[in-house]
Symmetry: C2
Subunit: 189 residues, 2 copies
């Protein structure tokens, strides 16, 4: 990408590509500002029901506060003898994958001068419960496979629409988290 490329003001997908390209240029010169830390706090409510709070993060070399705190609740469904107060943690992860790819489609479309009309993603993930229930140690706890289907209406050819999704996938943070291993370090008290 070159910052001299037109930023396609003729289309409006609600993404400020000029600002994003400026940020890219700034971070290229100051890679330490590109080091972010994302956070979540989670409080157990009862049973399998919990509430996560999402607020401040670190980035651009400084603590970044928000003027609000977001919450995400999770629970298990009634077929697991729970109260179904909220989506399951695995469904929440699917929504994170969906929203990351969708935001990417909008940003890439803006960059490429493609006006979007609608973007809908449908995700389905297989899970063999013999894993988490400890019935079969050869069965993993997580997803077997995830299928994502995009239905996109835009002023572009089918090939250009497919290329939007491919580029989004190539630069998606959550796609990377799901498809590649990440180290998780857990400490207690």
């Amino acid at each position: 990408m070159s910052t001299t490329t037109p930023t396609n003001a003729k289309v409006n997908n609600g993404v400020n590509v000029t600002a994003l390209l400026g940020a890219r240029e700034a971070l290229e010169k100051a890679p330490e500002a590109a080091q972010f830390k994302w956070r979540a706090g989670c409080e157990w409510l009862n049973g399998t029901h919990s509430r996560s709070a999402i607020g401040a993060f670190f980035g651009l070399g400084a603590e970044q506060s928000r003027d609000k705190t977001f919450t995400v609740e999770a629970d298990h469904p009634q077929v697991f003898a729970s109260e179904d107060n909220a989506p399951t943690p695995v469904e929440i992860v699917l929504s994170g994958l969906a929203s990351c790819l969708t935001a990417g489609v909008a940003a890439v479309a803006q960059r490429r001068g493609i006006q979007l009309h609608s973007v809908k993603a449908t995700l389905e993930a297989d899970m063999d419960l013999q894993g988490i229930l400890g019935i079969d140690d050869d069965v993993r706890n997580g997803f077997g496979a995830i299928r994502v289907h995009f239905d996109i209406r835009a002023d572009a050819s089918e090939d250009d629409i497919k290329a939007l999704v491919a580029q989004s996938q190539k630069r998606s943070a959550v796609f990377d988290v799901v498809t590649n291993p990440t180290s998780v370090f857990v400490t207690v008290n």
Copy 2:
């Protein structure tokens, strides 16, 4: 685990261990019922803002409907020239990891006869934005590492509390999704 082990009715963490053990026994005899499919639909709203809907899933050999649809919104923050209408997709994934481990702690504590008083998890994940911005192809798009810290008050020794978290981690679906690779198949239109 043996189903003849007492289910510790003396403690109450809000988890129906008797029902869970019954489900485990039933699924051991009918592994096809353990094949679940979790789903999410996502709709682009504007810019990087989207809304995911979570409702029906497949499991126990049948479509499972809920009497409600959950929604999870996502967006990017103002430092990315976005409107900060909702948490970022990566923060949503962190909340999914937190809630999965937390639900596991409650279930294992109930199974082991440990009364919980409070469970709080704090998560922080490193991300080098040079990845998603395409500045450096050697930098991954997702998290560098994730740190999870649990602060648990319970009627148990420190070692027993640590063992709760270790067992939850061992059987957590989202912990597996994050720490191990999962195939994602994307199709368009």
